[in-house]
């Protein structure tokens, strides 16, 4: 049904290196899942099985770890995954409005992927950026902060042209007064 996934020699070498960092093999699950996600773009059950078999761990355990984190993609996602934070702070500052706007704009619901395979939306828990709420994260990478609907629109346009947002340094209020 699904594709066959394998690690090549280089990957296996990296995995050995990862394993050597820990006294037991279970802590290696997370970095190896990252490695797999970097390679295949997702960690579908078949990839989870590959990781489990490579590490000699039960597949159920790996699934438990992978499903705990929204950062691991348990199915194939679009090129850009927009993780919209809907935890407390963002919620109060309009996180759901942003999510709503995105959903209407892209014509998909949270957890879905656009037909052209460009965008996926996820509603996620706190990303630790409450000071710049509401915010979203693009494909486990750059944060886009202090969102407004206009900012979202321009983000989508930029992404469509393949332009990732820049890293944005936002000073905290207490630091602002210092400088």
């Amino acid at each position: 049904m699904s594709k066959e996934y394998t690690f090549d020699k280089d990957d296996l070498k990296k995995i050995e290196e990862i394993k050597s960092r820990y006294p037991e093999v279970t802590p290696a699950v997370m970095p190896v899942l990252w490695l797999a996600q970097d390679k295949f773009g997702h960690v579908e059950p078949a990839v989870q099985k590959l990781v489990a078999d490579t590490l000699g761990l039960p597949q159920a355990h790996v699934q438990g770890v992978a499903s705990f984190y929204t950062q691991y993609y348990k199915k194939e996602k679009g090129k850009f995954v927009l993780d919209v934070c809907t935890s407390f702070s963002c919620q109060i500052c309009g996180g759901y409005e942003i999510l709503d706007h995105l959903e209407n704009k892209l014509g998909i619901k949270a957890g879905e992927t656009t037909e052209d395979g460009m965008f996926s939306i996820q509603s996620v828990e706190c990303l630790g950026a409450c000071g710049y709420a509401p915010m979203l994260q693009v494909t486990n990478d750059k944060y886009v902060n202090n969102l407004t609907t206009e900012k979202v629109d321009s983000l989508i346009e930029n992404l469509k042209q393949g332009k990732m947002p820049e890293f944005e340094s936002i000073p905290m209020p207490q630091h602002e007064t210092e400088s």
């Binding site: 059950p45 989870q48 099985k49 159920a60 355990h61 699934q63």
Partner: protein
Amino acid sequence: MAEIIIDDKKFEFEEVGKVLQFILDNGMDLPFFCYHPSLSIPANCRQCFIEAGQMVKDRESGEYELDEDGNPVIRWFPKLMTACSLDMADGMVIKTHVTSEKVKVAQADTLELILINHPLDCPICDQAGECPLQIQTYKYGPEGSRFEHKKVHKPKRIQLGPRVILDAERCINCTRCVRFTDEVSKTHQLSIVSRGDKNYPITAEGQVFDDPYSLNTVDICPVGALTSADFRFKARVWEMNQTPSIDVTNGKGVNIDLWTRDNLVMRITPRFNKEVNDHWMPDIGREAYRLFNENRVSKPIIKLDGDQVRSSWNNAFMTVSEKISSVKSDEILLIGSPYASLEDNYAFQNWFNRLGVSDVYFTPHIEKGYGDDLLLVDDHAPNTNGCKALGFKEVDAKKMAKLLSDESYKAVFILGDDLLSRVDIDDSALESKYLVSFATNHTETTKKSDLVIPITSSAEHIGSYINVDERIQRTIPAKETMYTNRKLDLEMSMGRLDHFGTKFDNWVSDKNRVDCIPAWEVLVRIGNEMNLEFNFASPQDVLEDITDKIPALENVSYDRMDKENGIALKLSAPKSVTT
């Protein structure tokens, strides 16, 4: 000796255990969900909260410090502790909900949180009636919930494996099932997925929960999240009657409970026995309830002109006595059974000894490689060691086939065993013989028998069985036969329906009583017919006779077996005599 004070009462202890286990062992109550004595302790349900402290000891004098009022000074842990994971210590002071308002509030609050997303579908839930969550909510729970929003929905009716069904909404994520597959059965098939209010246990994608011990997770599930695919919706707990018994489908002799309703065994669950099976049993043993209910031989069956027809008991008894009188004693072949109880086997041997037949043969039912490291052993039969203890001659299937086709035997008596299904023999070889089988169920053997005498199964009689580890354990009748009555037989237990049901309501009938008699009693009655001096009045009588005659079984009694959860024997009987 070390002391611990629980709710202002002083207890002494020697071995340092966990506080929760100590509280339970001393007959006190403390609510908990995730703790299980045979599994690791994650302390994740937070239900067994207690206040704990330590009496302050003066380092120099070694005396407890006293305050102005003369009471010992107690240094309390800053927060509530989980009793399940807290080690006992000398001078420890524990306050449970009995003496602490704080604990009481904490217990109610934890339950309120646990119940936020619980569907509260107790009226249609199989666990209702034996559900720790239900019981503890009644005892310690809040009056109601303050949660006014939609509950989180999760997968329901997921067939995890051939025998277990998951309802994730009912799950409280205690992880008992996960720990069971990790630590006991070691198949590692389950794990908790997702997080927060969405998590629940499930197998890895595409994997089937086919653990041979999977149904134990249903037993230890403290809610109705895991239910048995087979038993689901069949009976409510309070309708059934629970009788302690022994598994007769394997040589391990797993301790079980038979749950009966209207004289049908509805389900089988393991019963704790530290020496044999701990809290567990293999799934396959639970299938045995079909053996007790279905395909039973009820009323004797006799072969007339090649057809098997039902006969009266008197006719059957007369046929046996006539047959025996018409053959010489060395023309009789006796085959005992590792499936029959010690009492039945002994009565069988003893009865025929009086007629001058001394040798009893039996063929063990051993399948190499069938066993595992946990509770299944290669021996399928519960009483192989019983046959050996009685000095039966052990022959393998090939030799048994030879014996059966030996022309010098004119009559063959087979006790409670589907012998012919494991012995390869031509029908023609049996034609010249008169085959009498004492049987519980219709089998290959009964089909070929000239006379079938229905005997009681382990669910209907008292019988002892000696397992592979030479441990003797006994069964207690759970089902009534046509000739027994729960109300009169003090060994039998009475459920609600047995007390209050009548033949005229929907739930109780006489339909499920089997027309059968214990093998020893059959022999007593045929003995009367033949004026044999063979007078046992009860299985107790038979057992006493056995213990008198066999030194290895000295001092064995039902009382002792009950009190000591079975007795470990040292069998010195000659092993595997072959001819």
